[in-house]
């Protein structure tokens, strides 16, 4: 049997597997369509974000004009919160603490497209399959299943509107195929003009009493974080290695990001100031898992939309490169 197997293996079963790449390619084409639709279409609607027993409803508006992309996300239940994005700048309004956080995108990649290397990452870590047609928020959708090839990442189920490709529902699944987190439109308008007023923040930020946390630089301070990990995680590629400013933090923070094409994990290393209480522990919400640990005079925090074991493996593997 063994010898026979080897003989056959030399012939290579690639031709027998010919249907697999085709399915995968079709899946990839859908992912591209989804990414493009999210950034090139006007749309407005209501969606729910759900994890465990927690449900939040939000209104979202997205418009594209000659000056670029503009979007607003407004949380409708609980404390009022708003996020406004204008191209590369994201403002986060937290009226209960009268705080505005502003982040500028560090990444220079063109927004709409998934890059070839990202698609390659996807193929390495997930089996991509097309599913049935299903109806979401009144629209006919193509379903896509991205099944993880190992336990380092979650599975994804996506519902893309059949014509435009707009993503109307996204679920992340754990190893038991249970949903860890879900976002789903309940009502949606695709296309048509968007009233500018709908995109403006509701809050008067320049008023006294509001705290305006600005991330002062869009450029990283250094393209070397000074830190690395001892053992790479299968399927994850480093997409950022920098020292940077972060809104709300007074000192530069080392930031390393790993991605498998569908999920990202960030490692933050912050110098502990005198009197800071180092944190060692974990936190979890929906698909997001966080692991914090002190390392010498630094606080290491790892977070991402990946299982707890993945953030812990990364956190325990961090070391200073001495640069």
């Amino acid at each position: 049997m063994r010898i026979l197997l080897f003989g056959l293996f030399l012939v290579s079963p690639a031709s027998l597997l010919a249907d697999t790449p085709a399915t995968s390619n079709e899946g990839i084409a859908w992912l591209q369509k989804i990414a493009t639709a999210a950034h090139e279409l006007n749309y407005s609607g209501t969606f729910i974000y759900q994890y465990g027993s927690h449900v939040e409803t939000s209104r979202i508006v997205h418009a594209v004009d000659s000056s670029g992309e503009h979007e607003k996300l407004e949380i409708l239940n609980g404390l009022p919160r708003e996020i406004v994005r204008n191209n590369d700048e994201v403002q986060c309004f937290l009226p209960s603490s009268k705080t505005v956080r502003v982040e500028k995108r560090l990444q220079r990649k063109p927004f709409p497209a998934l890059l070839p290397e990202e698609l390659n990452d996807l193929n390495k870590s997930y089996l991509i399959k097309l599913g049935d047609r299903e109806r979401i928020a009144g629209f006919d959708c193509q379903t896509l299943l991205l099944e993880p090839k190992d336990g380092l990442r979650y599975g994804h189920r996506l519902w893309a509107e059949s014509n435009s490709g707009l993503l109307l529902k996204a679920s992340m699944l754990d190893e038991h195929n249970d949903v860890v987190e879900q976002m789903e439109f309940t009502q949606l308008n695709i296309g048509g003009p968007i009233d500018e007023e709908m995109l403006k923040p509701k809050y008067p930020v320049k008023t006294a009493g509001w705290h305006y946390d600005l991330s002062p630089q869009a450029e990283p301070i250094s393209t070397e974080s000074g830190w690395d990990i001892r053992s790479p995680l299968a399927g994850f590629r480093k997409i950022l290695d920098a020292k940077r400013t972060i809104s709300g933090k007074s000192v530069p923070i080392s930031h390393i990001v790993y991605s498998d094409g569908l999920a990202a994990v960030s490692i933050f290393i912050e110098p502990l100031a005198a009197g800071d209480k180092p944190r060692k522990g974990v936190s979890k919400r929906g698909a997001l898992n966080i692991y914090a640990r002190p390392l010498d005079d630094y606080q290491v925090t790892v977070l991402g939309e990946v299982p707890m074991m993945t953030v812990m493996e990364l956190g325990n593997s961090v070391y200073p490169t001495g640069k």
Binding site: M1, R2, L5, F9, P13, L16, L17, D19, T20, A35, A38, Y49, E56, S58, I60, I75, G78, L79, R81, I83, R85, V90, E103, F111, P112, L114, E118, L127, E147, K149, D150, A170, D174, E175, M183, R230, R244, I246, G248, H255, S259, G261, L262, S266, R279, K280, G281, V282, S283, K284, R285, L288, I290, L303, G304, E305, P307, M308, M309, E313
Partner: protein
Amino acid sequence: MKQDLSAFMDGELDPDAAKAVLAELRRNSELRGAWMDYHLIRDLLGQTGMASHDISERFKERLAGEPVVFSPRKRILINNKIAALSAAASLAAVALVVWVVLQGNADKTNDKMAATPQPNSAAMLASLPRYPFSSTFHEYLLAHQEFSPSTTMQGVAPYIRTVSDGGEEANR
């Protein structure tokens, strides 16, 4: 290693060597590919009567439907269907292995097989305190979000993760 893999499939390896194969399977994606290919070939040879092109999916489905059976002996044998049961048993054994491979780090019992024996994360997790998902992490979350591919696919919607769970954000 591929020779060992084949021997392992045929049940010819001692437990230690089998463990080594399992550990290698965990680590080596090329070997996992070979594992799939060998099964495909075996299927096509009619050994199991299957002709799958996607073994992992079938095993997962099968596993979802029933507990893993290690041995057919406790089952009631009906007439002369021993051959069929034996096939089912080897399928279950194989499914167990695939399950182990697919599970990766997610399962505590498999942690011993981790390719990089860092501090044992699974064992460690049990002893770690749980932080409330508070605004302590908010700044980091916001800085992280632009790198999440979900932002590429969904625009600003996933930013809800950075401000979700009302009641936390007030305590900076």
